[in-house]
């Protein structure tokens, strides 16, 4: 299998994640979409690393995974906080910045 197959797969997964981020009403659902997008990025990184014989891509993947974990933890904390204050988990109910 060539590099393009992996990249195409990653692109599909990324687009699906983007779709989720744009359409999901629940904030936890949005977070799940973001996870998918990051996963697609990781696939890209590892694939490039493998096809170029360069280990840096894999190292960056480890970074990405770790940072994602941190991001999820913070994101969920924010969701819980919003729950407490606004009694909702719906992203479209949160529009304090409406012009």
């Amino acid at each position: 299998m060539g590099l393009s197959a992996y990249l195409t797969l990653a692109a599909v997964v990324f687009s699906i994640g983007l779709f989720g981020v744009m359409t999901r009403r629940n904030m936890v659902g949005i977070l799940l979409g973001i996870e998918l997008m990051l996963n697609a990025v990781n696939i890209n990184l590892v694939a490039f690393s493998r096809f170029h014989g360069e280990v840096a891509g894999m190292v960056l993947t480890v970074f990405a995974i770790s940072i994602t974990v941190a991001e999820v933890a913070l994101g969920l904390a924010i969701v819980i906080l919003l729950f407490r204050t606004r009694k909702t988990a719906m992203a479209d109910h949160v529009d304090w910045l409406k012009g």
């Binding site: 779709f19 590892v46 493998r50 170029h52 970074f63 969701v79």
Partner: protein
């Protein structure tokens, strides 16, 4: 069709199918489980790319850690609100069009670029190389990562602290 190609297609179908399920299923809890499957599929892709260490990390951190945390969050918030969380989508057509457009764009870019067909063999075991890189070339980012994790840990527990 070689075994490798077959394995790739199987993994690809699992990955794409579970990803689609994540963004379309009506039940939030199911969504999370589908995500776990997608992440595991990704780990399979990593295995195919000779990145065994990453596959392990993926399973442990993502499929294990992240999914567990999300499930916890769902449970906690449902308890707070006292009702089951609705998990519907809005503006599916607009989102679908934009996502499809984005995919089309990526595809057209990929189609126009010559890409290598075969992997270049690593000089050593990738896991060993990753370990070496962490402690040499990427030492500073590695240490900073530790700091970042600590900070986000503190921040998360501060934000989600019980109300006084």
């Amino acid at each position: 069709m070689t075994l490798e190609v077959l394995g790739f297609w199987v993994l690809a179908i699992v990955l794409v199918g579970s990803a689609l399920a994540v963004v379309t299923t009506k039940n939030l809890f199911h969504s999370v489980l589908w995500l776990a499957l997608a992440l595991t599929g990704t780990a399979g892709i990593f295995l195919m790319l000779n990145a065994e260490f990453l596959a392990g990390v993926q399973i442990l951190l993502y499929a294990g850690g992240v999914v567990t945390v999300v499930v916890f969050a769902i449970v906690v918030t449902e308890k707070l609100v006292g009702t089951r969380l609705a998990h519907t989508s809005r503006r599916v057509w607009l989102g679908g069009a934009v996502a499809a457009g984005f995919l089309g764009l990526l595809m057209s870019i990929l189609a126009g670029v010559p890409l290598p067909m075969a992997p270049i063999p690593m000089t050593e075991d990738p896991t060993r190389l990753i370990g070496t890189a962490f402690l040499t070339r990427f030492l500073l980012p590695f240490e900073l990562l530790a700091v970042l994790l600590l900070v986000s840990l503190l921040a998360a527990s501060y934000l989600a602290r019980p109300e006084e």
